[in-house]
Amino acid sequence: MDDLLVIEDLVVAYSGPAGEVRAVDGVSLRLPRGASLGLVGESGCGKTTLALALVRLLPSCASILSGRILLEGEDLVQMPETAMEGVRWRRVALIPQAAMNSLNPVYTVGWQIREAIATHERVASREADRRAAAALELVGLDPARRFAYPHELSVGMRQRVVIAMAFACRPPLIVADEPGSGLDAISRAQVLGLMQRLRHRLGTSFVMISHDLEEATALGDLVAVMYAGKVVEVCPAGRFPGQARHPYSRALAAAHPPLRGPRQQLTGIPGEVPRPGSPPPGCRFHPRCPEAAAACRQVGPELSKVAPGHHVACHLWGGEGL
């Protein structure tokens, strides 16, 4: 099987005054070439840490404790930093959180796209400029905008610039962390539409990270749900959220009021998201789970298969092992 990205038992921890805090605690995921994965989770579940770990740009107080990240069969965890610089953007590009604010204010947009290209390819400056213009055209912006400084563009345009930049070196994988947050509903939907079109045209794989179910499923062939540092469910996008099995996934889908149909009392999820660093014992969701049994309080469930391509970490759904 041709896997583009394989994450095996990844553990990422922050060291703080209170000791070690495991933000990502034993995550395993598999992404076939050309497929996309939507990663859903609430704040503090470790999804942004996972995104940064994928390109090895964790803040200095965080580190990968164990596990492997195989990109096209090569382990990024063991890779020396200089080699990693060659991997970034060329083989895996990161659209960071609040990307529209991540352009350098003192350089033109074109300069910044050219820099991305020139870092990885030996191209003449005129050729780099031509490609920067083409990249902007790709995302529906006037190529003349490459002479503009970031502060001269609107929020939505800046978001498009970063997307253009991400495609500039045609990487096989793009990791997008909340690409729609900070945008209005309509421009968010348009940006998602743009990413969908580009992905189909260029065959790029995405890891789409979001707290928003729609955003995470917008490009997804696969959907993974994270809770308190662990992946609790992985399934084909078509089965989500309709056939989701994990009580958390189902509660999440029911937490938002529907746009159509009869109005009904929202169920919500009682309690609060556990603070990173002090997860409850056993299944991390059990204090908030309406169906929790005695076993849930003691033993943490492993991911197990409930249908083809559908794995759930829940004692209620104890299927075959992974």
């Binding site: 200089t82 610089e85 060659g86 970034r88 953007w89 590009a93 960071p96 003192v106 400084y149 502060h151």
Partner: protein, 326 residues
């Protein structure tokens, strides 16, 4: 850009006007009246008639408004008054000295800014490490020393004991070299004063650069640049430092004022014939007109330096530069 500069020009005009008016009012507000201050210790010894004659000669018997206009008029013609203590026109006294002060403060400022930016960058890059703590603490210690005392200690050590540098003055006594040899001689004499002043003023720039750099390193664009695969060193210089310099440039104004202030006492220690030394001599001789003229000139120098910085700033920050065009 144009509006930014216009605003600054108005501000400097106000500063200048306030300095002028202060100069005009100070002697007139003092008990004993202006004669006391213009004539210094001589005032007591003069007969009332002679005093009145001098007052009338100087126009001090006319209305304040009249005097103010006359005062501005004289300044506009470049007439700074007459120093009785020295027996020569003040313009001549200060004209000889201003260049040396500008040379001293200018060199010290360049050295302090350059070193502060470089060391602040290093401290921010290795923040939390021993290098960081050592640099910040060292600069803080140097800034805590009174600048004149620092000068004394440096002279005693490098001049007196080690004999590496001359003790004071601008030229070797009896020196007759010309051209670049003369320049070299002056440079050797200026080395210690410039060092004193620069080292004392290092802290502000270093700390500002460090803070600025630390906050810039936390910015999203640094993460994006790293994610693009740009090597760490290039991210540091082309992305982080370029942005971190902006607040340093805007604070240039404050630095200049402080360095000029430090120059006042530094020149005293090293017996350099600059405006600062002139102020010291004027204080000792109670030569108030010279003191005023010196203050005025220092203010003008600071304003000129600030204006220069304002003209350079838009080159660093496109957000200011483009405002006029949009």
């Amino acid at each position: 850009m144009r509006r930014f500069l216009a605003g600054r020009l108005v501000q400097y005009a106000v500063v200048l006007w306030l300095a002028l008016t202060l100069n005009f009012l100070l002697p007139r507000l003092m008990p004993g009246g202006p004669a006391q201050f213009l004539l210094g210790d001589e005032a007591g010894r003069l007969s009332p008639e002679l005093k009145a004659a001098i007052m009338s000669e100087l126009g001090l018997d006319r209305s304040l408004g009249h005097q103010y206009l006359a005062f501005l008029g004289r300044l506009a013609r470049g007439d700074l008054g007459y120093s009785l203590a020295r027996g020569e026109p003040i313009r001549k006294v200060v004209a000889d000295r201003l260049p040396w002060t500008v040379l001293l403060t200018g060199s010290a400022l360049v050295v302090a800014t350059w070193a502060g930016v470089a060391l602040g960058t290093v401290a921010a890059w290795r923040r939390g490490s021993r290098v960081d703590v050592g640099l910040v603490m060292g600069a803080m210690l140097l800034a805590s020393m009174p600048v004149f005392w620092l000068g004394m200690v440096l002279v005693a050590t490098f001049g007196l004991h080690l004999g590496w540098f001359p003790l004071f003055g601008l030229r070797t006594a009896g020196a007759t070299q010309t051209g670049w040899r003369a320049a070299l001689d002056v440079a050797r004499h200026l080395a210690l004063p410039v060092l004193t002043l620069a080292v004392h003023n290092l802290f502000g720039t270093l700390l500002l650069m460090r803070h600025s750099m630390v906050s810039v390193l936390g910015e999203d664009f640094v993460l994006l640049a790293r994610a693009k695969g740009v090597p760490a060193r290039r991210v540091m210089y082309r992305h982080a430092m370029r942005n971190a310099l902006l607040p340093v440039a805007t604070h240039f104004a404050l630095g200049l004022g402080f360095v000029v202030g430090g120059a006042t006492v530094t020149e005293t220690i090293f017996s350099l014939p600059g405006i600062g030394r002139l102020m010291y001599e004027a204080v000792l001789a109670r030569d108030y007109p010279v003191l005023q003229a010196a203050f005025l000139l220092v203010t003008v120098t600071v304003i000129a330096g600030n204006l220069l910085a304002d003209l350079v700033y838009p080159l660093l920050d496109p957000r200011v530069r483009r405002e006029a065009r949009a």
